[in-house]
């Protein structure tokens, strides 16, 4: 049942550009949504499953984005190795940052993640020789065509890149699923529910937090690399504090601690502003109101709300 629904969703997503031909704007939005899902998956592992809020996570996405941009632009690397290296570098930065930060608890940790996000975004804006400063790094080349046997798949077109983004997103979702059902994932869930108890049962809480922080920063880095190569520019505005806060909003809206939470959150986050385009000035206002309502009535996001309603329906 669940497998069938997942398969259907994947097939729908894959056929989207074919089903709506000649709609470049829709395709652009869909690709942008996919670019948002990947870092949200990283934050979902950290926040939704382990219970650690990071308010600076797009900083790590930026590390991945800039690294991939430099590798593709300056060193002429192909897309996939550049994305992988960006993710690894972001994970390594996460590991280094995590060692001091994760010794702090609850709100102290949250404040420090905010500072980390600010520091990273300041570096992106000011290290002109490396990051291009406020202008960023424009002109990232499109992925080269993929040749499997005799078939040549062009990835440089909007549709081609949509499929690239879809493949990367599915990879991240697969990783999220594998982590969550692993013994590592159960230890993370135990840490979220009761740290003292998890430690008493033999979980090295600090080591687990550090591992998931690095993993989550790495996934965010992959998302940043994907976004940079889609927009063909690594720019500071993509990875600033506002972007980090938006990422937290995406995870909260979708449903923290649900596998599909980042997907739903990202769709709502991109689609809702589009629907409200007519009332551009009311956009942020409506968005704020939605967040407050969710926090009050659906602390586990839209998926949490849906699950609760379904259960109530089944009970009655």
């Amino acid at each position: 049942m669940k497998a069938a629904a997942t398969l259907l969703a994947v097939a729908t997503a894959a056929l989207l550009p074919v089903a709506f031909p000649g709609q470049p704007y829709m395709l652009q939005l869909a690709t942008l949504t996919l670019c948002g899902i990947v870092p949200a998956i990283g934050l979902n592992l950290l926040f939704g499953y382990t219970g650690l809020v990071s308010l600076g996570h797009m900083g790590f996405a930026g590390v991945g984005g800039y690294a991939a941009a430099l590798l593709m632009k300056q060193a002429g690397w192909p897309f996939l190795p550049a994305l992988g290296s960006g993710a690894l570098l972001a994970g390594a930065v996460g590991l280094l940052v995590g060692i001091p930060c994760l010794r702090l608890r609850s709100h102290f940790f949250i404040i420090v993640t905010l500072a980390v996000g600010l520091i990273l975004s300041t570096l992106f804006t000011n290290l002109d020789w490396l990051t291009g400063g406020a202008e960023g790094l424009p002109g990232i080349p499109r992925p080269r065509p993929l040749a499997i046997g005799g078939v040549r798949i062009v990835l440089a077109t909007p549709i081609g890149f949509y499929w690239v983004a879809l493949a990367v997103t599915l990879g991240a979702l697969l990783l999220q699923w594998a982590v969550v059902r692993s013994p590592f994932g159960s230890a993370l869930a135990a840490i979220r529910q009761d740290e003292t108890m998890a430690a008493a049962r033999g979980v090295d809480v600090f080591a687990h937090k550090l591992a998931v922080f690095a993993l989550s920063a790495g996934i965010a880095g992959a998302g940043g690399a994907l976004q940079a190569s889609f927009l063909r520019v690594a720019a500071p505005a993509s990875f600033d504090l506002a972007a980090s806060i938006n990422l937290v909003a995406v995870v909260i809206i979708g449903g923290p601690g649900y596998l599909a939470g980042p997907v739903l959150g990202s769709i709502v986050f991109v689609a809702l502003p589009e629907a409200l385009r007519a009332a551009a000035q009311a956009r942020l206002f409506v968005f704020g109101a939605v967040l407050v309502l969710l926090a009050l009535f659906a602390p586990r996001g839209l998926l949490g709300l849906g699950t609760r309603l379904l259960r109530r329906h089944a009970a009655s």
Binding site: V179, P183, A199, A200, A211
Partner: protein, 245 residues
């Protein structure tokens, strides 16, 4: 070689002396009760043995190895397990998953390898253990939906699932109704010899602990007041004055 040796533990919280030279030696597996009035230092002693707090001075040896100062997760891997006075379960997980989590190898490397190759889980053993306490029908119910007494049983069954060598139970009988209490006593009486377990039980329910333990250690004002069989303790003048009344 004694199994567990606690010697001259001292612990102060500001002006309050919680432990004032408490110590005892336990030679082998079995069930030992730890009783005493509120504030005698029983839970502090447990917390120190399990690494949740550190003592100001004193030593703890497990099979002649110094273990005081080790963090809780290291002690757990040596074979220590505990239940908490306030009862701690994973309330969002089902009872079955609570037991399976307790049984799982908690080392980080093992957990990470499990992302690629998930290990087999002892589901049958967990179900069987739930059944011994009459909880099999709650196997797929979140632990948070159970009554306090049932959650207490789930907590203790979870600790047993990890096959510990030393199990410390902090007031297992509190908040548990008489029927469940009889079940709990039966489970513990059966499990302790089967697992070759040293079971240390803090308890205020005298009937429960005296019926369960072969040896009782009485604490009073941070020190050991008396130590002996339940019959000796019941007859001990000092214990009657200080605690039993």
């Amino acid at each position: 070689m004694p199994l567990l040796e606690v010697a001259a533990l001292r612990k102060r919280f500001g002006g309050v002396v919680a432990l004032d030279g408490a110590g005892f030696t336990i030679d082998g597996p079995g069930i030992v009760g730890l009783i005493g009035p509120n504030g005698a230092g029983k839970t502090t002693l447990f917390d120190i043995v399990c690494g949740r707090q550190s003592a100001d001075s004193g030593t703890i040896r497990f099979e002649n190895r110094r273990i005081d100062g080790l963090p809780p997760h290291r002690l757990a891997r040596l074979g220590f397990a505990r239940s908490f006075q306030e009862c701690r379960t994973l309330n969002e997980e089902t009872c079955l998953d609570n037991l399976l989590f307790a049984a799982q190898d908690k080392r980080l490397g093992h957990g990470l390898r499990g992302i690629v190759a998930p290990p087999a889980q002892p589901r049958d053993a967990a179900r069987a253990l739930l059944a011994t306490a009459g909880l099999e029908r709650f196997a797929n119910t979140p632990a948070g939906d159970l009554s306090f007494g049932q959650r207490r049983l789930v907590e203790i069954l979870s600790t047993l699932m990890a096959a510990p060598r030393v199990l410390l139970l902090d007031e297992p009988a509190s908040g548990v109704n008489p029927t469940l209490l009889a079940t709990l006593a039966a489970v513990l009486r059966e499990a302790a010899p089967r697992l070759g377990l040293l079971l240390l039980v803090i308890e205020h329910n005298m009937a429960f602990v005296m019926g369960l333990a072969a040896r009782i250690v009485v604490m009073h004002q941070g020190a050991i007041l008396a130590d002996g069989t339940p019959a000796d303790i019941r007859a001990d003048r000092r214990v009657i004055d200080a605690y039993l009344g």
